[in-house]
């Protein structure tokens, strides 16, 4: 299953035609400008992974920041034989996972702060199509459902479903075997099915 295409899905338009891997090699040589370009291209995707794993904007921005900072500091540990963005996103997931495991609060507590479960006020949405509203509601429901998963389940699901990482790449992030990743993934799907039953089942 192919991962999202970072070029077509990214609103940032760049004049720089170099590939991510060329930029990463330049970064390893100490080229700070190359790093800037990589940040502009991929901060959105790093943020998306962080958001889906942490469930809220502030944590996601922090994690994204840390991930990019770490990528700069540890650029030498990226091996040019693999995709730079995949490496960056694994790094992001690692950081997010660390935080999830460290937090003593249950994930659902965090979500309850912001999620009301009510539909958006129509007065504030003049001109917005019903479809966009519905889309936003679904996104909120899915994010809420994700927060009911355990850290490992959440990470396995986000990395596979949204980012298309191979299960063998997810295993080292979770610190388990590929077989365990599959089980985490299955349990994630089972829980999501329960949480999203009214959305997707007849």
């Amino acid at each position: 299953m192919a991962a999202l295409n970072p070029v077509t899905d990214n609103p940032y338009e760049s004049m720089d035609r170099r590939s991510d891997e060329d930029l990463a090699l330049a970064l390893q040589d100490g080229d700070r400008a190359a790093f800037d370009e990589l940040v502009r291209r991929h901060q959105g995707r790093v943020y998306a992974v962080a958001y889906r794993l942490s469930g809220n904007r502030e944590d996601a921005l922090d994690i994204a920041q840390e991930a990019l900072f770490k990528a700069y500091r540890k650029a030498d540990s990226w091996s040019p034989t693999g995709s730079f963005v995949a490496w960056l996103l694994r790094l992001t997931a690692n950081l997010a996972l660390d935080q999830l495991r460290r937090q003593k609060r249950r994930p659902t507590d965090r979500w309850e702060d912001g999620y009301t479960g009510e539909t958006l006020e129509t007065g504030a949405l003049e001109g917005v199509t019903e479809r966009a509203v519905r889309g936003a509601e679904i996104d909120e429901r899915i994010t809420a459902a994700l927060s009911t998963l355990s850290p490992s389940q959440r990470t396995a699901f986000v990395m596979r479903h949204y980012e298309g990482h191979a299960l063998s790449d997810i295993a080292p992030v979770l610190g388990c075997t590929v077989g365990s990743v599959k089980v985490h993934l299955f349990r994630a799907l089972r829980k999501l099915r329960v949480e999203l039953r009214d959305l997707y089942e007849d």
Partner: protein, 341 residues
């Protein structure tokens, strides 16, 4: 049936195309006979197909904050430091690879609860600080580390604590005087740790230089960063006030970054961006600083010695001893055939 649970992992893998042919066959065979699993397979499969991979656009720009934490060191300043760092990284790798291998887990029943290994004060403090940091409470993290250091100043493993304090003070809390002290401590007491990252060396150099003006140059740089592309004049102020300093060098590089972002230039167009920044400046000292930076770039990155020479000579005409000295020594280097720096 018992087999149901064993095949759950395979089912999940199959949804995402990662089940082997044999696994698929085993799964299909089971689904043919087990209606419960078949129902679940269809429901979960539908779920996988239904959950959309929507875009989650980021509504903030992370670059300005990253700038604060990553010292923008102009390439021409960087060369020497990298040779040192490379040697240090090689040493660090050897040390890291000598760590203990994972033991296979035994299945012997345990009659006593294993005691957790005791953490040293430094390790405990670092763990607590890390926890505070994940809640964005950097002041509390710093205090935790400070308390540990005060109580156990002579402990052998305090290096990590001191370095973390230096980093927090510099990157998060903008406490430059304290950061200066901590980096100095690390450099003196824990030298291998210090040399592990070239970043540490740059920061100490910057802080030592900024101490002469009570770190005002750094606070000025922070102010300029807050404005970013909207405040190129603020960067210009820093250049004008502290010509010839490391901070001015950094300000020039970040000014070029800001121009690059504003004008949509590629990351390989630093020279163009800096020339543009130069055009927008009015203060003679700021202009001179940018010319020096440009000259260095032309000489080192672009091998355009003619342009470099012209710029250095223009700086000589500005009556500032610091910048004139920098220009003069660079011209001497070029004349004597020496390359770089």
């Amino acid at each position: 049936m018992k087999n149901c649970e064993n095949l759950q992992g395979t089912m999940a893998a199959a949804f995402y195309g990662e089940a082997s042919e044999d696994e698929r066959a085993e799964l299909d065979a089971h689904l043919a006979t087990c209606s419960d699993c078949r129902a679940e397979y269809e429901a979960l499969g539908k779920l996988v197909r239904s959950i959309p991979r929507t875009e989650l656009p980021i509504d903030a720009d992370l670059l300005p904050e990253l700038r604060r934490r990553i010292t923008v060191v102009p390439l021409w300043r960087r060369r020497e430091a990298y040779a040192v760092a490379a040697a240090c990284i090689a040493v660090a790798f050897v040390v890291a690879s000598l760590g203990p291998a994972r033991e296979p887990e035994t299945v012997a029943p345990q009659t006593t609860v294993k005691a957790l290994p005791e953490l040293s004060p430094a390790q405990a403090a670092l763990a607590r600080a890390s926890s505070y940091e994940s809640e964005r409470n950097y002041a509390a993290a710093y205090k935790t580390l400070m308390d540990a250091e005060e109580g156990n100043a002579d402990a052998a493993d305090m290096g990590g604590v001191r370095l973390r304090m230096a980093e927090l003070a510099f990157e998060r809390l903008q406490m430059y005087k304290q950061a200066h002290k901590h980096y100095e401590d690390v450099a003196v007491k824990h030298n291998e740790l210090f040399r592990n990252a070239p970043e540490n060396g740059y920061r100490l150099e910057i802080l030592a230089e900024a101490a002469a003006v009570d770190y005002d140059s750094l606070y000025g740089l922070d102010a300029a960063r807050r404005y970013g592309v909207d405040g190129l004049e603020t960067y210009e102020n820093v250049l004008a006030k502290y010509p010839g300093t490391f901070v001015a060098s950094i300000a020039a590089a970040e000014m070029a970054d800001a121009v690059r972002q504003r004008d949509g230039l590629g990351s390989d167009e630093t020279l163009v961006a800096m020339e543009t920044a130069l055009e927008g400046c009015e203060h003679p000292l700021a202009i001179a600083q940018l010319k020096i930076e440009l000259a260095h770039l032309y000489r080192v990155n672009d091998n355009n010695v003619e342009r470099a020479r012209t710029l250095y000579n223009e700086v000589l005409a500005v009556e500032n001893p610091v910048l004139a000295q920098a220009a003069r020594s660079s011209l001497n280097e070029m004349d004597s055939g020496a390359r770089s720096q």
